[in-house]
Symmetry: C2
Subunit: 290 residues, 2 copies
């Protein structure tokens, strides 16, 4: 594969950023990878693991051809403000945040005229693992990446970011940023909050030990995402607040409908609902490679 960008700078060298770099190196799509961050120990680990070739400061990062932000979305604006004065002409900035409307707003505020070079992105891959040690070259293989370019985004910048993700093995789609946030509030953010809520509610009980003692594989899978990063999910819940609140309300309403059926011993409604849910999930599983 031909080189797509000569130099890549990672702001954030954890699972998401590190895997991106590993995949692009393996594909021959990038020559040199810089790592930028506030945590020197973490950057050292990233270098030792081969995720980055060397560490850089903001001025050097701004000279890269492409800069990927892979950090909690709440930090986007601060980081972009530090980076903005150093951006070389033509440098492309992109991100891997789980919410997009707030990232777009942050980029707009921080980048001024260079907003045209910012390509908002969201790889639909990850794990409850995090940190540089979890990075792997095949994380994005066969996974979707959503880009939400804006009216003012330079087409060439979008094309380059698309090419990079494709080189990492991903399937790239574009979506409207607001629709992105609504969709992910429903299929990702809400399930995470629901899993955190379930585990915490149990853990706060005085007799929680007896409950956890008999929890089994169904509980394990249902709550797997409650093992995710608290900081990251705090940021996402707040960054996508409006859509998340709407999804929480819809979910509580659905639970109340089940509650009403159980309370009324309405066997028929329960059977219909459970059967519909199972059929929908089976249909989904057939259409997906997850």
């Amino acid at each position: 594969m031909p080189v797509i960008v000569d130099t890549l700078a990672l702001v954030g060298t954890g699972l998401i950023g590190g895997s991106f770099a590993l995949a692009l190196k393996e594909a021959g799509a990038v020559r040199t990878v810089f790592g930028v961050g506030r945590n020197p120990a973490r950057l050292t680990v990233a270098r030792e693991l081969g995720l980055i070739d060397r560490t850089a400061d903001w001025a050097e990062a701004g000279q890269a051809d492409c800069i990927l932000l892979a950090l909690p979305v709440g930090e986007t604006e601060t980081v972009l403000r530090q980076l903005a004065p150093h951006l070389k002409p033509g440098a492309i900035v992109t991100d891997a945040g789980s919410t997009k409307a707030n990232v777009v707003a942050a980029a707009h505020a921080a980048l001024g005229a260079r907003f045209a070079d910012f390509v908002p992105g969201h790889p639909i891959a990850g794990s409850e693992q995090s940190g540089p040690g979890a990075a792997r070259a095949d994380l994005y293989r066969g996974k979707r990446v959503v880009l939400t370019p804006q009216a003012g985004t330079r087409g060439e910048a979008t094309a380059t970011v698309r090419a990079l993700w494709e080189a990492a093995g991903a399937q790239v789609e574009t979506l409207d940023a607001a629709l992105h946030d609504r969709v992910f509030a429903a299929v990702s953010h809400l399930p995470h909050l629901a899993a955190f809520a379930l585990v915490d509610e149990l853990a706060q009980r005085a007799d929680s030990e007896i409950f956890f003692r008999f929890a089994a594989s169904g509980f394990r899978d249902f709550t797997r995402i409650a093992g995710s990063s608290p900081e990251m999910w705090r940021d996402i819940a707040l960054a996508n607040r409006t859509a998340v609140l709407a999804e929480l309300d819809a979910y509580v309403e659905a639970l109340q409908a089940i509650r009403a059926a159980v309370s009324a011993e309405d066997a028929e409604t329960l059977l219909k609902l459970f059967a519909r849910a199972r059929a929908a999930r089976e249909h989904w599983m057939k259409t997906q490679d997850v």
Copy 2:
């Protein structure tokens, strides 16, 4: 291993009953397995798969040394009433239902004096797979089985059922039936209802396709249990109605607490809650082999 019972009758030859029989045969703990049921085609499959040696009617099943009921809990009383007149002296009856107080009540009503020979049980194993084809000899290996013997239960009957489950590789514990129902309402029944609710709520949307399109591995695991049998879960929700209602209320309250924190942009409360949940789950994972 010495034979524990000469003949075992299965009422229900699906995943749970079939796996019990396979494990006991493999362990040499049982000589002959009868299958009883209303569905001749299913019994034929069970025989062809080697889960049972032959089919039997209620009169023959009553002559078995041990009879396991492995069917939706709503059918317990009907089945026990058909079996009761045929029970030979000393025959032990047990079940594998996911709820216990209602099964105990059904057995009390149906078995009269022979209630002493009924050992309520619940193997904590299973899968969203079901049917005879899903049965396997190692399903219970290392898994927990909860028995909830009553004051009137014959000690020898409980000991035999315990020995059978241990021969199948399980770790047997006893619990009070009401506590059992409360615990499983929280760690199993509620998560199932919550998963069904989430999938159905999405599936009922006019634009559901775009949501499912971007659902990924977190969604897959969170909703795995929404692939479970609708009939079985209808029965469980109704059989354990009081405890399930209490758990639904506690869960909705926990979700409302998260909603309030998101609405108020209370980052600190969210971070604390998510971190507590993750720590509780990590602690649990270390104590379990699930």
